[in-house]
Subunit: 881 residues, 2 copies
């Protein structure tokens, strides 16, 4: 038998989401439940795949199957497509497996033409309604299916109102003849724009609409949405064709949308709105003000009671908060759609907890209900909703780090640092930030830059700090000399107050009230449940005791990455590191390193104390040295003076450190190979700090991590320096303490030869940022120039820096895990790239069997939840298997 591509609602099953899409599956489900559903059929996602395989065409077999189902629908409804007596009208709606606002939504009233409209006008005795439906159909079809755009049509309506002497009259004040006239004008407009007559044949209309749904699966908005939400392009969308019911037949008809619980708070009460004498689009359009769903009780009690009963039934059936559309046609209630409703993070937590308490969900099921990414919003300050509504943005940039911030503009990191220490709320406004700005960034409430993208310095550092940040704001022009800026068309001077929304990217030229993050009991409860189920440990990336403490608050179980170089930028030590870099001899270098050692030791003691015995992974110096060198003339002069060198000599050193491809240059463990004394100094700082805190009773086991290894012997060489230095210190101290030496796996060759590397490494930590760069052969900093073209052409479906590329990068990770365990069965495996805080990547880490993930403090709860979901999913899979 040949493959079936089209299914009547009564043939389908609510479990067939992959085949029928979410909307189609639920229509089938509701049909089975015996609810009042206008009947229809679903053209499956497999038909969509076939459409693309056939070069974007619906083949004859599928067309025939669609028409067979129209015939069946005619049988069910007793109406006929294009009939002169009892014509069938249908709606056509897209419906993917996951709800996707990027796609075509709905075409209503399909099946109308010049003849049919007359029939329904006559039959209903409501010519105004009939022609309103017709003009709406022509308008919608032209806009949604043929992409003519709706402005031309709105223009024609406006012209008619002007001609009738009142530009401000409501659509409801237009007469049957007006609508008839408009439908003629609309068809003429269609012909003018497209060069052919508006299709009168209902079959042609239907195929056009179905094709448009399939085509919309691959438009730019849909691609963008899929990338943001990890939806594969291969899924395709289904199309639902459903007999029309009319909410605009008069005052006993209406239409509405409702939620079974409050989507903002999660409170268990019916929430929604409706409009009498209207079609669905009118509710959305916002021209007339809808009524609250509770008022339906008074307007139409029977329909209301039936609806409430259905709501209970659906919630009990789907065991989740439902988001429903309904239409009342002449007092008769019809359900058009139900789905699990979208909700805020707070509501998601409350609903999950309530459903456990109501006995609707098991704990594991409840844990799986929450999108981990949503938690991000809860952990940062937000704008007060009312205050935000009243504010108008003056400009917009790229939302780089979530949260809300309000403070006074500072145009330099120095000013920000000074004001911050004085207790002011500061917004740092810069063309871009650099490592030297770190102190100023640290005290700022928010950061705004005119250049850079989501992976710029400002963005990455701000996310790590949990500070609200907007980058790449083209609306922002800074005059640093004058200490003024213009955002959009508004001018600001230093000290003026602005507000940033790091979630939307909006900038407000005024103080907007913010509310602190509040993490309630539901959050704690769900997190505790998550901890019960997850196998993966969750660590954090933290460079300071403050970050470490924050992460523990969020449930971190250790540090997976301390970047020692971040400490080097602070003003008291940058001088020493510069001296170290500009040294001519080993002795000079050691002198400079000796200055740094006590500072580093102090940093590590602080971190160990904050972590109170939890494991701490410390990565040795990683970036190319030129990153530390001064760029400003007076800084260069100062350095020259300190070093007893000429300005020219310092400049020569800076020039000599220039690299063609610094990312692939003299950095990471290569620094330790060429300057072993750096590794020795860092070892001393790590071990002496550990000895000191051990003496205070905190049992700490530092994990020394050597970055950028590409060959086992490279690790062996650096490890020998570490072990010799460390063992001597420990022996001298008389303290009984352990430490580990391991490596980042961030270069393809390290993964390919992981069996050899594991002979030297007590742990692997996957540095998937660099591993992604090297595996794809592109630099994050430069990829912006072509990635957009890659998304638009569909070559890449998602950002491999945000979500781990399982086919390439993931293959290397799996290979390294397998090879590493071959050599050292108990090797500790973790990840410390930014993927460690991405839910789908965390799931991958669970599947390949890592021991832990490490992410920025604010992502720790996300990782905990994602790890639990992966473990639960994994359990389900094995139960099924």
């Amino acid at each position: 038998m040949s493959k079936q591509f089209v299914y009547l609602f009564s043939e389908g099953d609510e479990k067939w989401r992959e085949l029928l899409g979410g909307k189609g599956a639920n229509l089938a489900g509701m049909t089975k439940l015996g609810l009042p559903i206008p009947q229809g059929f679903t053209v499956s996602t497999e038909a969509c795949t076939q459409y693309y395989n056939d070069g974007e065409a619906i083949n004859d077999v599928i067309q025939a199957e669609i028409m067979e189902n129209i015939t069946k629908l005619e049988g069910i409804t007793g109406k006929k497509f294009g009939d002169n007596e009892n014509p069938l009208l249908v709606s056509v709606r897209s419906g993917a497996r996951a709800s996707m606002p990027g796609m075509m939504d709905t075409v209503l009233n399909l099946g109308l033409n010049d003849d049919v409209v007359k029939v329904i006008a006559e039959k209903s005795g409501n010519a105004r309604w009939a022609y309103d439906c017709y003009r709406r159909f022509v308008q919608m079809y032209s806009d949604v299916v043929m992409e003519v755009g709706k402005d031309h049509f709105e223009e024609l309506i406006k012209k008619m109102k002007v001609a009738k002497g009142n530009a401000d009259m409501l659509d409801t004040e237009l007469s049957a003849d007006d609508f008839k006239e408009l439908s003629e004008q609309f068809k003429a407009e269609y012909k003018a724009k497209l060069g052919s007559d508006f299709p009168a044949d209902p079959k042609e209309q239907l195929m056009g609409a179905i094709k448009a749904v399939f085509r919309s699966w691959d438009n730019d908005r849909a691609k963008y949405y899929r990338r943001m939400h990890d939806i594969p392009a291969s899924w395709g969308t289904a199309v639902n064709v459903q007999a029309m019911v009319f909410g605009n037949l008069g005052d006993t008809s209406g239409t509405g949308v409702a939620f079974t619980r409050d989507p903002a708070t999660g409170e268990k009460k019916l929430y929604g709105e409706f409009l009498m004498n209207a079609q669905g689009e009118d509710v959305v359009a916002g021209i007339r003000t809808p009524q609250h769903i509770d008022q339906l009780k008074e307007v139409m009690p029977e329909a209301y009671n039936e609806f409430v009963a259905i709501c209970d039934k659906l919630e009990n059936h789907y065991k989740d908060m439902q988001d429903m559309e309904f239409t009342i046609e002449d007092k008769k209630l019809f359900m058009l759609q139900t789905r699990n409703g979208k909700r805020t993070a707070a509501a998601a937590l409350k609903i999950a907890c309530d459903l456990i308490d109501e006995g609707m969900k098991s704990e594991a099921e409840a844990v799986c209900m929450i999108d981990p990414k949503q938690l991000d919003h809860l952990l940062h300050p937000q704008f007060d909703a009312t205050a935000l509504k009243a504010a108008n943005p003056v400009g917009k940039g790229i939302a780089a780090s979530p949260g809300a911030a309000c403070g006074q503009i500072a145009f330099s990191a120095e000013t920000a640092a000074e004001w911050g220490k004085a207790g002011k709320d500061v917004i740092l406004v810069r063309p871009e930030t650099s490592p030297e700005d770190i102190e100023g960034m640290d005290v700022s409430k928010g950061i705004l830059t005119s250049t850079g993208g989501k992976t710029s310095h400002a963005a990455v550092v701000a996310r790590g700090m949990g500070t609200c940040c907007i980058v790449g704001c083209g609306d922002l022009k800074i005059n640093e000399a004058a200490k003024t800026c213009v955002i959009g068309t508004t001018s600001f001077k230093e000290g003026d107050v602005i507000s940033l929304d790091g979630t939307s990217g909006n900038i407000y030229g005024e103080a907007v009230k913010t509310v602190e993050a509040t993490i309630g009991g539901d959050f704690d409860r769900i997190m505790k449940l998550a901890d019960k189920y997850r196998r993966l440990k969750v660590r954090t990336n933290a460079d300071t005791p403050k970050d470490a403490a924050k992460a523990i608050e969020f449930g971190a179980e250790g540090i997976g990455l301390t970047r020692t170089e971040h400490m080097f930028f602070e003003s008291d030590r940058i001088a020493a590191i510069r001296e170290m870099i500009c040294s001519d001899t080993v002795e000079e270098r050691q002198r400079a390193l000796a200055k740094l050692e006590p500072m580093q030791q102090g940093d590590f003691e602080g971190i160990y104390e904050a972590m109170d015995g939890r494991p701490v992974t410390i990565r040795f110096l990683d970036p190319p040295l030129h990153e530390f060198l001064p760029t400003k003339e007076d800084d260069i002069a100062n350095l020259a003076k300190t070093m007893g060198k000429t300005v020219e000599q310092i400049k020569e050193i800076i020039t000599s450190l220039h690299e063609f491809n610094p990312m692939m240059g003299h950095r990471g463990c290569r620094l330790a190979v060429t300057y072993p004394e750096i590794a020795a100094m860092q070892t001393r700082a790590v071990i002496k700090a550990a000895i000191a805190v051990n003496k205070k009773g905190i049992k700490t086991i530092p994990e020394i991590m050597i970055p950028l290894i590409s060959e086992a012997k490279e690790l062996a060489y650096v490890k020998a320096i570490v072990v010799e230095t460390a063992d001597k210190l420990i022996k001298e101290s008389g303290v009984d303490m352990k430490y580990l030496v391991g490596t980042m796996i961030e270069i393809p060759r390290a993964a390919l030869t992981a069996d050899e590397v594991a002979a030297e490494a007590e742990f692997f930590s996957f540095g998937t940022n660099d591993l992604t760069q090297m595996t794809f052969g592109f630099s994050r900093d430069d990829a912006g120039k072509f990635l957009e073209a890659y998304y638009n052409t569909g070559i890449y479906e998602f950002d491999p820096f945000a979500k781990i590329d399982t086919k390439g990068v993931g293959k290397l990770v799996e290979m390294a895990c397998k090879l590493g365990r071959q050599t050292r069965p108990n090797i500790k495996l973790g990840i410390c790239g930014e993927h460690g805080g991405d839910p789908s990547s965390v799931a991958f880490c669970h599947v390949v069997g890592l021991d832990y993930v490490s992410c920025s403090p604010f992502r720790v709860p996300i990782a905990r939840l994602a790890a639990a979901q992966a473990a639960i999913e994994d359990g389900n899979v094995s139960n099924k298997g």
Copy 2:
């Protein structure tokens, strides 16, 4: 039974080279042949490995085994170590599997001390000889074993001569007492330098010498030599301990070295020299002038005849030209060593051919006798040997491209181009070269730069052209404005004549006569034999008809890589490419591309015609666009004028094209994805050219190669443009022709997902230059800063850009071959990185089953020979297996 670490010569076998080293195995072999060999034993390479495993110490077990063998040797010789009546003296020599000049060579007369010297003085009645031996031993031991350096000792000898009133007297004029006095002075010097007495215990002397040999396996010179000659560090060296015989006992004693054939020409005649009354080191020292070996016939006919007979025996036995050392002690001939002799490329070819004709070697064996790398010398002009001897270098740089060149200095590519066209011989002297200099480089006889390494632009391009080139010459200071330069201490002005030796890196401040490359009949004969055995096809990397023609002359069977961008730098087209880059709209870009199209088409026609039906692989535009942009102010101004833009606008474009890591930036197929019109233009040029030459009767099948693929969909996207454009043109032309579309595999992810990529690609060409960079995570341009440290620490044993890294890069290549063939069993597989011309990498390509290698024209013969050797070796392996 425990492992044996030490073998008497009589226990060993000449086949045990891995265990005994080359020298030890041949001493065993000669012992078996019954030749007169001073007996002794070999401490095996496994003992060397054990020495390193034990932390650079000879463990007690091995020490005991050595002393047992001393006892056995005492039994054989009837002499005893440190004996007062008949003392045993020995020589200690290193001997690795392959001869390695980087290592410790020899310590003679070991076993002497204050007592023993008296005994032998008395017994021999030759006190002068005895004390000469003693002072030599102290000097050699101090220098070679204890690394004191020999200058101090030479100084003492000089002082003594001065004290005796004749600073110029010969060593032979010193008396027994003088030598006795010197040996005392030498021991005092030893103590002064090392703080302990010179060891009197022969056992201590012996262990010290053996340790020194083991240690020398890992000194910097040895590491460097191994890297140059692909010798793994894991092999280790053996040590040979041999009873001394003395060539310095008087006028009936002597010592010498000889070859069974002339190592310079290969002519079959005894070749060598000897010194009477001397030890081996005197022959090398060059203080006395040795006699030609033929003269030995007159001096000592019996010894001579015996020696000639032994030579014949050895050559017949080893079936190769032998290089031997011998000593005559009081008329008795002793053989100290034999080995296959080193020879020039010309001699290697002649000997191989002669040995076939003499029935000593099969054809396959003869093919395997020649080091493919040696052929390089044959293919380039060389200095006349006599002229070279008379010339003195004024400076030295890095030898980047072999050959010899002599011409007038030009300080700019423009001047070089102009003079070259005028028929002058030009040497281009630049700080460094850039793509814009291509024309000037092309006409120059030689290229000299002050900066850059072996992989700099100048080096890579010169090697491709077969032009002699020296780079990174620190001795060279150029004053471009004054058009003068200083090399070392000599000043030159533009137009002055210098000579470059691209093999040694020497620069001569005068005209040195060069002789053209002469490739004789032996070369042809061996090449034809190689072609008979090899399975791999050999193609060439060629960008011009001239290169292509040269490569065919050298036996290329097709083009594996035409870099289309190299054509873009020529003066008539660089303007158009710049216009293309600076275009704001697709239309502007297409206009600029339309100018380039006929030029590219013309280039391709020329290449197709030169290749006369052989396959031609054309790679689409690869480098980042900013490489084409002007840097000089007037070029920028010209471009602005042509484009109707301001200078500022052009500068802005240049700035906007800046990349942080250009190697991983917007280049390769990424250009085709963002600007599909470039790929379309290049397709038109490739296909129209093919149609044109097909019409002339040359059946050409162009292979279009898309670079820098990281994902199958990326290739699919570009391929669609190519196929659509090509098929249309072919259809229109009515010509029946084919073309292929394939890809470079040069990004790790392409190799990891090669099964998917192969669905789109009709061929893979491994771009192992970039693949090596990405797999190791370092940029060739920047690696110079740390690679030296990597070689010195032994982390890397060889340059992965010269010899393919089989563990990492090779693993990806193998994986890609396997995955690619899974999807497309008949996929064509080749390599076009520089590894394609490296013999050991060619062997790897054979083993993983590639179809062809592609290399620069001058490397084609090398690749042909290497491919044959790999195939023959492969055959042997299967015969054995």
